[in-house]
């Protein structure tokens, strides 16, 4: 199948690449530019392991063709940290023990970021609704929800909102 030119920005880096038009955004991110932090698990938009932020909004990248993200800005889990310094949300997941097998973690963290960008002061119930599209099988959700609430509270204190 003939390839088509994709123009896309991922984690601040601009790419112009010829891609197979059948490629999903998840496959492009993982296999073409090697950012395997974005996970694939169900490939049908249910588990949320492939969640990335496209122009700031959470998107299940297994449901979108790579060419569907033309001229968009994509943030993957790799783009969240600054060198050795984890994003405080990543740090909260780590410190709270919200990471077990870790396969849901990148999608979980990006969904949480999108939620908090929109609602910096969520209730526990709002966090649960915000993450309903991200499945975790081996950790349950207690520590994930706690990590997000704890980070949100600390951030409010720092920013003073």
């Amino acid at each position: 199948m003939s390839k088509e030119r994709l123009k896309i920005t991922v984690n601040g880096i601009y790419y112009e690449m010829d891609v197979d038009p059948r490629l999903t955004l998840a496959e492009f991110i993982r296999n073409e530019i090697g950012l395997t932090g974005t996970k694939e698990s169900c490939n049908s938009g249910i588990c949320g392991a492939c969640t990335v932020l496209v122009d700031g909004k959470p998107v299940k990248s297994c449901l979108v063709l790579a060419l569907g993200a033309m001229n968009k800005e994509v943030l993957t889990i790799e783009g969240l940290r600054n060198g050795d310094a984890l994003h405080p949300l990543q740090k909260a997941f780590l410190d709270h023990g919200a990471v077990q097998c870790g396969f849901c973690t990148p999608g979980m963290i990006l969904s949480a970021k999108a939620l908090l960008d929109e609602n910096p002061n969520p209730s526990e119930e709002e966090v649960r609704y915000g993450l309903v599209g991200n499945l975790c099988r081996c950790g349950g959700y207690v520590k994930i929800v706690n990590a997000i609430l704890d980070y949100a509270e600390k951030r409010r204190k720092t920013i003073g909102t």
């Binding site: 059948r22 950012l35 023990g97 870790g102 526990e124 309903v132």
Partner: protein, 787 residues
């Protein structure tokens, strides 16, 4: 002695890689020149393969290899002791989803296209799905005509008479104790019920996947998402006729969940043959979510007929327990699951008279295998439901009847084991208190609330298991490198080992490295399963650390002019125990090398080495009893657990919601408080899913809900609010556990079925004997009750 690193909270040592997205799972690996493999699977449940034509598939551009049984050695594998399964269907197919042919191509699209062009001609045979029908003397279909020639060991068959007359009987086990008939006759009350449990899937988020490369020199290298690297080596040796010394299995540091579903071989053997046929290029096969559901082993559905006789005060006088497990087309590890189910009963209660029979039956569907809890949740559902039903009939408190019957420290159980490290009573009391069981739930409107408790016990390993080996390398800078073959699939095994090594060397966790598993370099281990890693590998690691320290102290004794036995080490500083000021840094025993890092003039390296073998009794085949003159234990340890739940039932819709979850677990000694909580919450979530919604539905052997929309696992909205989920840790110090620890990752899931069933009864007075407790089932039960 105060411990520095044991019994504390530590985030996972490999957590940074996971939250940053840096961590590589097997799923993430792409090798140079790698091909992609796909598998053609049987769409009929039982039939003979008449012909396979691969000509069209071979002509698809980009296809580099197409293989069928003709390319495989004619031999069978199977890890439970029964070798009944070929790597790829040979002669016959026995379930929908069985591999029949496979393709390796330059990309997945070409591989898929080629798969669709392979033509297979079958001669369909009658199939049998109902295990009771299948275990008859003249079943509709015989799944394995060659069964009697498989050389199945006697301990898996039990009574030869029973086995011989039932052609689809895969395995059979029994326990005989006292006189059950008389015990029942003498009982004040006898309850007799049938319980049925569903077929359940593990749903690890990382789908099973592997890469294989078969080199010209006969060396096979496999990268895989397994939780059992050495089992993979063994099974590949059986299936490919390649010596195990020529097989290398590499497990990347991270494995995305397993729950028992990644112990057996998946498609590593097919991948290997594809690689050989494709000029030794590496080939990767990753299963789709559909294939994970339809082709990897599921949790056994059980039919359990339970007869319990009690005295007037609730003391158990006799139990007759007969279970039939549908183990599917092949035996595999499922045989061991069935073999060990008796421990759910004998590890919990005092039973003076017991008749226990467990049948494992072949049918025409996917095989069943290990699943967190290893058959215990199904048995415990029946037993713990009965305890509540009996208590209710006798007008006794459900806690009291359990306290009356539970085994305690030093008691001899029904198979002659002497119980040790038994926390059932404390678990039960803590859960009862935390749940407020004595206080009746208050209900509002159509939601009726109720509370339920249940106990559980999970053994670890039996005499068929061997031990664990461990190497420890000590660097001059004080870094301790642990080489072992246990897998961290999210349960935190690496962190527990790091804590143990940190304790042994009195050095921070940041100085400990646990290297990824590679069977060329990391030593032999049984497997990561049976919640055995903390106990077995933890002990092996302690011994290996001791061995390393002995080597260090011997060298340092000359420098410190002290006896090696008088030395100790802390933060990389070797010192004399009696006068700690007399010390040298670890570096002092090393020499600078001209071309390489510091070394030891004598041995080159400090390499501690140890194996931990824990001897266990083999049980008598006819009676299941431990010998009187043996170790008086047939399992390594029992881990006790109690669950308490408060639920609410919607009288109009039958929906069940969890309000409060409490788990109390006897871990022997806690190593990592954070990961124990994590495992407990994990199991509460998984247990909640299996209790309320999870079930694989089959229609003539075809799984009809193989996706996450139709097979529902819990989301963030299912569990109760965080403040109402609680884990209570009980410590009973196992005499042979590392620092007293036992494993706990499986036990935590056990009593969820009966706890919820008992709570539903408390709430609305209906007794449901077939989980999951879906709205439909509860609604129908309520209607039958006239509610």
């Amino acid at each position: 002695m105060e411990l520095e690193y044991i019994g504390k909270k530590f985030p996972n040592i490999d957590g940074f890689e996971k939250v940053s997205g840096e961590g590589k799972y097997c799923y993430d690996l792409i090798l140079p020149n790698m091909l992609w493999g796909k598998i053609l699977r049987s769409y009929i449940p039982h039939g003979r393969i008449v012909n396979i034509n691969t000509d069209k598939a071979k002509r698809v551009p980009g296809v580099r290899a197409v293989v069928t049984y003709r390319d495989f050695p004619d031999c069978l594998c199977g890890m439970g002791g029964i070798k009944d399964e070929p790597l790829i269907a040979r002669g016959k197919v026995r379930y929908i989803g069985e591999p029949v042919a496979a393709v390796a191509a330059e990309d997945e699209f070409a591989a898929e296209e080629a798969i669709d062009l392979i033509e297979v001609e079958y001669e369909e045979l009658p199939a049998v799905f109902d295990p009771e029908e299948s275990m008859g003397e003249n079943p509709l279909a015989v799944i394995h005509e060659d069964r009697n020639r498989y050389g199945i060991p006697q301990f898996l068959i039990g009574s030869m008479a029973e086995w011989s007359k039932r052609p689809n009987l895969c395995c059979y086990f029994r326990i005989r104790k006292g006189d059950p008939r008389k015990g029942l006759d003498d009982s004040y009350l006898v309850l007799e019920d049938r319980f049925k449990t569903p077929m359940v899937s593990h749903v690890p988020l990382e789908p099973h996947n592997c890469i294989a490369q078969f080199n010209y020199n006969g060396k096979l290298t496999v990268w895989t998402s397994t939780q059992s690297p050495y089992t993979t080596v063994q099974q590949l040796e059986y299936g490919l006729k390649v010596p195990h010394s020529r097989i290398r299995v590499i497990v990347p540091r991270h494995v995305g969940g397993g729950f028992g579903g990644k112990i057996e071989l998946t498609n590593e053997g097919i991948c290997a043959i594809l690689s050989r046929e494709a000029n030794s290029r590496p080939v990767k096969i990753k299963l789709s979510r559909d294939e994970v559901f339809t082709t990897t082993p599921a949790r056994h559905p059980f039919i359990i007929d339970l007869k319990t006789g009690v005295k007037k005060d609730g003391t158990i006088s006799a139990i007759e327990f007969r279970s039939i497990a549908n183990t599917g087309a092949y035996g595999g590890l499922g045989v061991v699951v069935i073999k060990n189910t008796g421990h759910a009963i004998v590890g919990q209660y005092k039973i003076p008279n017991l008749k226990f029979d467990a049948y494992g039956v072949y049918t025409s569907q996917i095989k069943a295998g290990a699943f967190r809890g290893f058959g215990m949740p199904q048995q415990i559902f029946a037993i713990e439901s009965h305890m509540d039903m009996i208590a209710s009939k006798l007008g006794i408190d459900p806690v009291e009847i359990r306290l009356k019957n539970i085994l305690k420290e030093g008691d001899t159980n029904a198979i002659n084991e002497v119980m040790h490290s038994v926390g059932s009573e404390e678990c039960l009391k803590e859960v009862t208190r935390s749940l407020g069981l004595k206080k009746k739930s208050e209900s509002e409107g159509v939601w009726k609330r109720g509370k339920g408790i249940a106990l559980g016990t999970k053994y670890s390993t039996t005499a068929t298991s061997v031990g664990s080996c461990c190497f420890v390398k000590v660097y001059d800078d004080g870094t301790i490198e642990v080489r072992q073959s246990g897998i961290d699939l999210g349960q935190g095994q690496h962190t527990v080992l790091a804590q143990i090594a940190a304790e042994e060397f009195s050095t921070p966790l940041s100085n400990i490295i646990v290297v990824p598993v590679d069977t060329d370099y990391t030593p032999t281990d049984t497997l990561t399963g049976s919640q055995r890693q903390t106990f077995y590998m933890g002990n092996a690691l302690r011994l290996a650390c001791s061995d390393a320290k002995k080597q260090i102290f011997k060298l340092a004794s000359k420098l410190l002019e002290a006896d090696p036995g008088d030395l100790d080490i802390k933060n990389g500083q070797i010192f004399v125990k009696e006068s700690p000021n007399k010390s040298v840094p670890l570096r002092a025993i090393f020499m600078e090398g001209p071309f390489f890092p510091p070394y030891l003039p004598g041995s080159g390296e400090i390499l501690g080495r140890a194996a931990f073998i824990y001897p266990l009794d083999s049980k008598d085949i006819e009676t299941g009893q431990c010998p009187m003159d043996g170790y008086r234990r047939s399992v390594a340890f029992y881990t006790q657990i109690a669950h308490g739940v408060e639920i609410e039932v919607n009288l109009e819709t039958g929906q069940v919601r969890l309000v409060k979850l409490v788990a109390a677990i006897d871990v022997g000694r806690a190593i990592n408080l954070l990961s124990i909580e994590g495992q407990s919450e994990s199991a509460l979530s998984q247990g909640l899913g299996t209790a309320l919604s999870e079930e694989l539905f089959l229609d003539n052997g075809k799984i009809v809900n193989p996706n996450l929309a139709d097979y529902k696992i819990p989301t963030t909205l299912c569990p109760p609010p965080n403040k109402d989920v609680k884990t209570i840790i009980i410590e009973t110090y196992h005499k042979d556990g590392p620092f007293g620890a036992k494993g706990m990752g499986e036990a935590v899931i056990l009593p969820m079925f009966p706890a919820v069933a008992n709570a539903i009864y408390d709430a609305v007075g209906v007794r449901i004997k077939e989980p999951p407790f879906t709205p439909e089932k509860v609604f129908n039960a309520l209607r039958q009750m006239g509610k």
